[in-house]
Amino acid sequence: MTHALIDELLAGGPVLTDGGWGTQFLEQSERPVTRTELWNLSHPELVEQVAKSYVDAGSEIILTNTFQANRFALPDAVEQVEAINRAGAQISKRAAGEHTKVFASIGPTNKLLVMGDVDEAELSDVFTEQATALADGGADGIVIETMSDLAEAVIALEAAAATGLPVVVSMTFDTGRQGDRTMMGVTPADAAKALADAGADVIGANCGLGVDRVAPVCEALVQATNLPIWIKANAGAPVLIEREVVYQMTADEFAGHVATLVSAGASFVGGCCGTTPEFISAIDRSLRPG
């Protein structure tokens, strides 16, 4: 059974999510852009600006600045992990106002079950800590994103679902000749089946090889599940110009690709690396002409 909030969101047609946050941080700050999750406590105003820029651009769902806010990724700030997550959800909620929903971001731990770096119980504790704090902070839903290991994704999903919030699980398909497997070899069909069985409300793909290459992944997900599909792809592949990383795809080009994804069955759409509020506005215009 789908979560009531998901039904409510989908009643209005395709739902517009947000775009990249890292790029926005780069533009707004002189500071080195690493471990920006700490900014939820040290520079909440910068984080809120980014969140607000997506609300203003027309996002119906914005995420939170909590992607790597887990105790494995913040080894010297473990005492602050809960506060960082709670603040991340609160900041996005403040920016969201009444009409925009906040789906809080949980990323991978970068620890490998297969190498014995961690066991299932430890992973579960880490994700439970993060998900609980995000729910406490007022998140409307949780997005587990950029996952490549299905076992880790399922553990995160179970931890997130325990909060009672709707849960999106989105994996990164960027490997293999067709670019349709995760780094760990998971196909969209494998992912859709395992995640649906484990109780995901929405299943998706984010990051990856670029919005121009994600359509086959979207189609494979649609084939494999009746659950709504979430796609947040990158603005094509980046190129390096004068030691600067540049995404050359324009907002309108990106919006054109997103329209194709919506026709293919995607219900929640937005962008990932290289996308900005301008991209979200462009998608908004193309999805809702006039």
């Binding site: 780069l26 690493t34 490998l112 770096d117 490997t175 780094m183 070899g185 980046p238 030691r243 990383v245």
Partner: protein, 212 residues
């Protein structure tokens, strides 16, 4: 099945519970440590690498094979050090400053070990000065640097600049890799080589040390 075959199979299938036992049994049966490595483990890892390139294997299978070798090498290394281990070369490896991603780097590290390199793994978020210090201490043939993020890969040229400034650039070959990288970028950053997967990285390292 003969012991070498069993060890080969165990590494290839990533059976890291069994490889230590097989290794001890091999030693009991009189195999030289180096023979267990050269005649079973290295060929098995090479086959795992081939299957990875063929996309029959993915990262988990390859990591399990690496872990199987690692478990075995923990038994053999002390013996090898006593009896002058034959390494094909020495590698210092790490993920660059600001980047905490471990997986790709660890994969390359275990595969390099599996190919017969002495591997010093500096971990993640390694600063340029730590890389320079490691070169001075370990005198490696190859320095392998990894970055997963477009925002952190710019630490690669900074690291290479530091190696140049320390006057060590001629002493090492610098390999670059990671999701946002490509051949052209690696060249622009001042690297000696680029590989787009772990197996290719091992092949390239073997070429660079003249062992292929």
């Amino acid at each position: 099945m003969e012991l070498l075959e069993e060890l080969y199979e165990a590494v290839l299938t990533g059976d890291f519970f069994t490889t230590p036992d097989l290794t001890r049994r091999g030693l009991d049966e009189g195999f030289a440590p180096q023979a267990l490595i050269d005649d079973a483990m290295i060929p098995a890892m090479a086959e795992a690498g081939r299957l990875f390139e063929e996309e029959d294997y993915f990262v988990p299978e390859l990591l399990s094979s690496g872990r199987a070798i690692k478990a075995s090498l923990e038994i053999l290394h002390p013996l090898l050090r006593a009896g002058n281990a034959e390494y094909v070369g020495k590698v210092v490896i790490g993920t660059v400053q600001g980047d905490l991603h471990d997986i790709g780097k660890s994969l390359v590290a275990v595969m390099m070990q599996g190919a017969g390199f002495d591997v010093i793994d500096l971990g993640t978020d390694v600063s340029p000065s730590e890389v320079v210090a490691a070169i001075e201490e370990h005198k490696p043939d190859v320095v392998a640097l990894s970055a997963l993020l477009t925002t952190t890969m710019l630490a690669m040229p900074r690291t290479i600049d530091a190696i140049v400034d320390a006057g060590l650039r001629d002493q090492v070959q610098v390999l670059l890799g990671g999701a946002p990288m490509n051949e052209k970028t690696a060249k622009e950053f001042g690297g000696d080589g680029y590989a787009d997967n772990a197996n290719a990285a091992v092949r390239l390292a073997l070429e660079l040390v003249g062992a292929s």
